[in-house]
Amino acid sequence: MNAAMEGVVKNMEDRCLICNRPRMSGGQLCRYHQQAYDRLMDAFISWRTALNVDWRGFLEEVLKLPEIGEWAREVAENLLKRAQ
């Protein structure tokens, strides 16, 4: 493996859990997936008030909706996998 490749492979540990973008400092996600995560957390509060669902139920339900954004879906899928 050449030097450029070594740099790249080293770099991969700083990559987002979901995609190839760099992680936010101190986090595991890139800025976009982190933003999606934050919006999921905000939305959970509304869902809990509206339907009295738990975290897992929320993730399962929200993933069924076609309106969910692509990055939010990826984060929700990842979170659900971990919850399982």
């Binding site: 493996m1 050449n2 450029a4 490749m5 070594e6 790249v8 492979v9 080293k10 770099n11 991969m12 540990e13 990559r15 987002c16 859990l17 979901i18 995609c19 190839n20 973008r21 976009y32 933003q35 999606a36 919006r39 999921l40 905000d42 939305a43 509304s46 869902w47 008030t49 509206a50 339907l51 929200v62 909706l65 309106e67 969910i68 954004g69 692509e70 990055w71 939010a72 990842n78 996998k81």
Partner: protein
């Protein structure tokens, strides 16, 4: 006899100008080098009317070679860059005709570009002392009357402040465009070892950034539920929709409770009110308005609308379309135009109706353009129009006449209906006076909602009410006209260049689709620029430069100062880009499928169990494979070939057969789940690897 060389912008315009200015309306047509030109007689002068082909000169670097930064520019004939024989012939013909001319007049379109086109040609063929005597015709349409008026009132000099502003705009745009685009291309070439055409400029950057903001909003969107009451009542055998006074509720329980209490119950009309509403006529079209309306009505892209409008202008059927004005000045004879439209079968009745009025009033918009009025018909018509030309002409004519129409009036009725103590509304709207809508006809957006006759206290029987769950929706994707409007509102680009900028973003692969979606490449470009030189994405810089260019037209500043300002503004971000070429190239390269980048982890390595299987792109062959991250430490050399087509994502599961990570392979709309180990049979139906 004095000879006057009249320079027009396009061949079709030259023919119209020659015909209009000839005393007998029949100029002599001649041809040289395959380029037609016209000889007209006007009083004691012989007019030689010749056309350019749009710009015959362009900005270029003052030195050779593919490098950057470049801040020194020069103007050269465009055929030296494009190798266009046609452009070369036009210039050669004008040069030879100029030798026999005593006077020179620019009859190019009256705007920055038109002024610059004629100036560049004249500056190329005339010595400075003769250039200052060249005159300028100013017109907003190519009708005979407008051209004769422009000839009579032609100025004795060219419009130099406008020309200076035009030159500076081209030079600033060129300097920004060439340097930033080369910086991007150089970055990608350095990181990927191959060339890819890319571009970014002072308007492209902020435009792309607007699209990125919307894209992030959509892709990170999480819907939240809410409930609305769907209520219907049958009155006199017809079903009407009722609205609960609160459009939505956040709690399911509350919505269900109201629905269960009200469903099937009787209500009564508690309050009945109606009011008359006046809908003023629309203003005449600016270019942006026309592009927006043509997209709404016919689905035409802004570029297509502009092209059709230019054809109609060259046929002298409409006024100059590249205008931001929504106003028709008093100098335009509305009666004359209506007389012309009266001669067209489709508009006869409408025009006669408007002409029968004692005085004419036209609805004026807010936006003004010092050079041109709003787009309007000239009153002329040509039978041989193509279908799309006829459609756009119809839209322009109807809008023009509608803007002279009377306001439309509607009767808005609101019946407040109480059901078990809960308030519902039955709302209707009826057109009582069509006003301008009768002229605008099929293009009006108004939708009538008629109500049955209702009385105060009237019982409405058996109202059906149910709670319906809905979800919030992400903001809509922008389409071309809405992006154009956004650019207009943010004051970036000009009316003439905005649609071209959008086309360039499509051509470069930064955006796609009619509902515009930012591609991975577009996102990577914005991300890289945001990280290393956010100034390029800010609308502030380009807005500031636009203001400076506008001030130049008013002679409040000069081109040297504006250019110096622009270069000083560009230098810091450009040097930052140059310094970080490799990083930027790697970031953009990842979106282009860079041969040397590593994508996210697919899962644990089944051989060493401590490393992660990563997608790695071979720099030499450009092919991808899965390799263990422990390879770098010399601990594991496990690798698997991967399918070369389609998008690969980790499943986050291990294969139940061999323990290697499972992946999903997406090709088009088809997803397949398979094991990364090519020798394992899991999910594999003859899939070949490494091809």
């Amino acid at each position: 006899m004095k000879r006057v060389l009249v320079i027009c912008e396009k061949p079709k315009a030259a023919e119209r100008v020659a015909k209009a200015l000839d005393d007998n309306g029949a100029p002599r047509e001649a041809k040289s080098l395959g380029v037609p030109y016209y000889i007209s007689r006007r009083e004691d002068k012989e007019l030689i009317v010749v056309s350019a082909l749009g710009h015959l000169f362009t900005v270029t670097a003052d030195r050779r070679g593919w490098s950057y930064p470049i801040f020194e520019t020069k103007w050269i004939p465009i055929h030296e860059v494009t190798r266009s024989r046609r452009a070369s012939n036009h210039l050669r013909l004008i040069e030879s005709l100029a030798k026999e001319a005593d006077e020179f007049v620019s009859a190019c379109d009256y705007d920055i570009e038109g002024s610059l086109i004629a100036y560049n040609i004249l500056a190329h063929i005339l010595p400075a002392e003769r250039l200052k005597d060249a005159g300028r015709m100013r017109f907003s349409s190519l009708t005979k009357e407008a051209l004769l008026e422009a000839w009579r009132k032609r100025s004795g000099t060219l419009d130099y402040p406008v020309i200076e502003a035009g030159k500076a705009r081209h030079e600033v745009d060129w300097i920004f465009g060439i340097n930033l685009s080369r910086a991007l291309m150089s970055s990608v070439r350095r990181a990927m070892g191959r060339f890819r055409p890319m571009s970014i400029g002072r308007v492209q950057g902020p435009t792309l950034n607007f699209l990125k903001e919307r894209e992030v909003e959509i892709r990170t969107f999480v819907p939240t539920p809410f409930w609305a009451l769907e209520a219907y009542a049958v009155i006199d055998g017809r079903k009407y929709r009722l609205e609960y006074y609160r459009p939505y509720m956040e709690r399911e329980r509350e919505a269900l409770e109201i629905a269960s209490r009200c469903d099937g119950e009787n209500g009564y009309v508690e309050l009945l009110s109606s009011s008359r509403r006046s809908i003023p006529p629309p203003n005449p079209f600016s270019l942006g308005d026309l592009q927006h309306e043509a997209h709404r009505v016919y689905g035409y892209s802004p570029t297509k609308t502009l092209k059709i409008a230019e054809v109609l202008y060259l046929k002298a059927l409409i006024s100059y379309p590249r205008t931001s004005s929504q106003r028709i000045p008093p100098s335009i004879d509305l009666r004359e135009i209506l007389h012309g439209l009266r001669g067209i079968e489709a508009y006869r009745e409408l025009a006669v109706g408007l002409l029968s009025r004692t005085h004419f009033r036209i609805r004026q918009g807010l936006k003004e353009d010092p050079a041109h009025p709003a787009i309007h018909p000239t009153g002329y018509y040509e039978e041989r129009l193509r279908p799309h030309e006829r459609r756009l002409f119809d839209l322009i004519c109807r809008r023009f006449m509608a803007s002279m129409g009377e306001p439309a009036h509607t009767l808005e009725t609101d019946a407040q209906i109480e059901v078990k103590g809960y308030r519902f509304h039955l709302r209707g709207s009826r057109l009582i006076d069509r006003g301008w809508m009768s002229i605008y006809g099929p293009f009006s957006k108004y939708k009538e909602e008629t109500l049955p006759p209702l009385k105060h206290g009237q019982i409405i029987e058996r109202i059906s009410v149910r709670a319906e769950r809905r979800n919030t929706k992400p903001p809509p994707r922008l389409d071309q006209p809405s992006l154009l409007k956004l650019m207009e509102r943010e004051e970036i680009g000009t009316k003439a260049t905005r649609s071209e900028i959008i086309e360039t973003l499509f051509r470069r692969g930064y955006i796609e689709g009619s509902s515009i979606r930012l591609t991975d490449l577009g996102l990577a470009v914005v991300d890289a620029l945001e990280k290393y030189c956010p100034e390029i994405l800010s609308p502030e810089l380009t807005r500031y430069l636009e203001k400076q260019l506008e001030r130049m037209q008013l002679s409040e500043t000069n081109s040297a100062l504006v250019l110096k300002d622009a270069v000083e503004a560009l230098k810091p971000p450009l040097y930052k880009l140059k310094e970080r070429e490799l990083e930027i190239g790697l970031e953009i390269g990842s979106a282009l499928g860079s041969p040397s980048h590593v994508e996210g982890s697919l899962g644990s390595c089944p051989r060493c169990n401590t490393g992660k299987m990563m997608i790695i792109w071979n720099k030499r062959t450009g092919k991808r494979f899965a390799g263990c991250s422990n390879y770098i430490k010399g601990l594991c050399s496990n690798s698997f070939p991967l399918p070369q087509r389609g998008e690969i994502k980790a499943c986050g599961e291990a294969c139940p057969i061999c323990g290697a990570p499972l992946i999903t392979l997406k090709r088009g709309r088809i997803f397949r789940k398979l094991c990364v180990n090519h020798e394992c049979s899991y999910g594999r139906g003859g899939e070949k690897h490494g091809r």
